[in-house]
């Protein structure tokens, strides 16, 4: 299909793949740290207002307005304030932050510097998932460069403002991407989410006011000051400014990370020449998860939807972390859901009973159905188990301390809503209708 998708000028991914794009020298030649210079001439409150005007929304999953989040930090707190960068990218289907950390870490560091100055933060911790060895090396090298160049340290780019940035690697726990679990982990504990309120902006790291922002969110901040908030806001929709990164994976010819306009539709992402370039020969789309594995699945007839927060919400799903997973008509939906359910069962922290008990129960039922051992009533049982973790709809009102419970239940509800026949066929036929090829026959492993 020839390209019809609206072209955009990439902001975050502009330098990816270019020689030495991760170095300070390269970043400066592209105008890097000029936004910080501009911000340092402004009052902190004006910086926060500018971010509010830009309509920048958090790119980690929840999509909360960034400027508003910053404004919740009390100005008169006697305690030190902290910034924690959430780089614990672990949700199946999501792999965008890795590219920022590997190819252009200074863009995020500049965002950190602007945020820290605006919030009165003197210590920032960049928390990366433990498996990110190479991204951590690139990021640490960039932090070292920033210290050497006098950007970080005792004087923030010459201004009388101390900023120290430390990198911390996790050790393999998806739950640490949840903001309060991340703070627990940063405090040297197991990643058990905290009850909210109080919210981290008031009681966060070490009991102090703390902002937790995703890697992509902070990497987007310099553009707000380079382009001006209004120009940045105009790139997006009324409620969501700028561009966004989406991660395309699964049954599609050209998987990858693409920077798109908020108006780009799922269909364009999958079929357009600029992005996915369509399905493998002879295949059709059967289902698409639009925002990481926790986002409710959509059917093939629901792809004409813009990949932005509000439009996807209307479809009772979410933009989430930007992870788009495509499944073709040779894919078994029971096996797909089993894989997703297994993830949440493995990653449940065990603190809340509905999640600790419910997620493995879902997994066992799905495995039983997939292996042809399902019995009448198992599908209803599966639905009941998911409902006891989090009812559906509405989204986000689960029975657990954090949203991992919602994340584990939403896929089950949505798969059953759209593909219930396939689950029942497994039980009726006492086998997987796809035989030993539930994933089709991709690549060398067929």
């Amino acid at each position: 299909m020839a390209s019809t998708a609206k072209a955009i000028e990439p902001i975050i991914s502009a330098a990816w793949g270019k020689p030495q794009s991760w170095t300070l020298d390269s970043y400066r030649k592209r105008g890097g740290y000029e936004a910080l210079k501009k911000a340092l001439e402004m009052q902190p409150a004006a910086i926060i207002d500018e971010v509010k005007k830009s309509n920048l929304r958090g790119r980690g999953g929840a999509g909360f307005p960034t400027g508003l989040k910053w404004s919740f930090v009390p100005k008169d707190s006697p305690k030190p304030k902290y910034l924690a960068v959430n780089g614990d990218e672990s949700e199946p289907g999501t792999f965008k932050d890795r590219y920022i950390l590997e190819d252009d870490p200074h863009m995020m560091l500049e965002g950190i510097a602007i945020a820290s100055y605006a919030l009165g933060v003197h210590t920032c911790y960049v928390y990366l998932r433990g498996e990110f060895k190479f991204p951590a090396q690139r990021c640490q090298a960039a932090i070292d460069e920033a210290y050497k160049a006098g950007i970080f340290g005792k004087k923030l780019m010459g201004k009388d403002f101390e900023l120290n940035v430390y990198l911390v690697r996790g050790a393999g726990a998806y739950i640490c991407g949840e903001e309060t679990a991340l703070l627990e982990s940063l405090e040297g504990k197991k990643g058990w989410p905290r009850l909210k309120p109080p919210f981290p902006a008031v009681v966060g790291l070490f009991g102090s006011p703390t902002v937790v922002n995703n890697v992509e969110t902070l990497a987007s901040v310099p553009a707000v000051f380079q382009q001006g908030a209004e120009a940045y806001a105009k790139l997006g929709t009324d409620k969501s400014g700028g561009t966004r990164l989406v991660c395309l994976s699964g049954s599609v010819n050209r998987p990858g990370v693409y920077e798109v306009s908020m108006f780009t539709t799922l269909s364009e992402l999958i079929y357009d020449d600029k992005y996915g370039r369509g399905m493998p020969a002879g295949r059709k789309v059967k289902a698409v998860i639009p925002g990481g594995s926790s986002a409710p699945v959509l059917g093939a007839d629901e792809l004409d939807v813009a990949m932005e927060f509000e439009a996807l919400k209307v479809k009772q799903t979410m933009a989430g972390s930007g992870g788009v997973i495509v499944m073709d008509d040779a894919t078994c939906m029971v096996r797909s859901l089993w894989r997703v359910a297994r993830f949440y069962a493995e990653e449940s922290c065990g603190q809340c009973t509905p999640c600790r008990e419910g997620t493995p129960w879902q997994t066992r039922l799905l495995r039983k159905i997939e292996e042809g051992r399902g019995e009448p009533g198992d599908v209803d049982m599966l639905s009941n188990v998911a409902s006891s973790i989090a009812p559906y709809p509405p989204i986000g009102l689960g029975n657990t301390i954090c949203a991992l419970g919602d994340a584990a239940a939403l896929p089950t509800h949505s798969f059953l809503m759209r593909f219930r026949d396939e689950f029942e066929a497994h039980i009726r036929e006492k086998r997987c209708p796809f035989g030993d090829k539930p994933w089709g026959s991709f690549g060398d492993w067929s």
Partner: protein, 162 residues
């Protein structure tokens, strides 16, 4: 007399590393250095021996139980000595759509191990998402990612592991 935990060289690296880690946190929050300190210990010894956990706990001014609680929560810490090469195979949705389940079966046959088993040379594990969904299938060997794998590519990688 029991053998010392560290060689003189390792001891030097441990002492310098712990001092650096502690310097990143407020003076009354030394325990926050737990994750990096456990990582340091594992880098030096290949796993977390009990006497090492006690040592980390002492430096961070917490109980050894607290160090064990944290170490046992995170999958990347080894409480038992693993094989020389720890292979983590992602079988989540995007990787499975590109053949990861079959890649795991191929590895199990080739190494003579089931997922979850280990011998002196290899520990084979089925793992969850490694953030390589666009370059599936993927696996990790001792923290190094290997992506867009084919049988030929995987065979070549394994052949280099002595």
């Amino acid at each position: 007399m029991a053998e010392p935990l560290f060689t003189p060289e390792e001891q030097k690296k441990f002492d310098a590393g712990i001092a650096e880690i502690i310097s990143h946190y407020p003076p009354d929050r030394k325990s926050a250095g737990m994750l990096p300190a456990l990582r340091l210990l594992q880098e030096l010894k290949g796993w977390l021996p009990p006497e090492g956990l006690r040592l980390v706990a002492k430096h961070l001014e917490v109980t050894p139980e607290r160090a064990m609680e944290v170490a046992s929560f995170y999958v990347m810490y080894h409480l038992k000595k693993p094989g020389k090469y720890v292979i983590d195979v992602c079988t989540n949705l995007s990787c499975s759509l590109w053949g990861a389940e079959k890649m795991l079966a191929y590895l199990e046959e080739k190494l003579g191990l089931k997922a979850g088993e280990a011998n002196e040379k290899f520990t084979l594990r089925e793992t969850e998402c490694l953030a390589s969904c666009g370059t599936a299938p993927c696996l990790q060997i001792n923290e190094d990612h290997h992506e867009s794998l084919t049988k030929a590519k995987l065979d070549a990688i394994l052949a280099k592991l002595s």
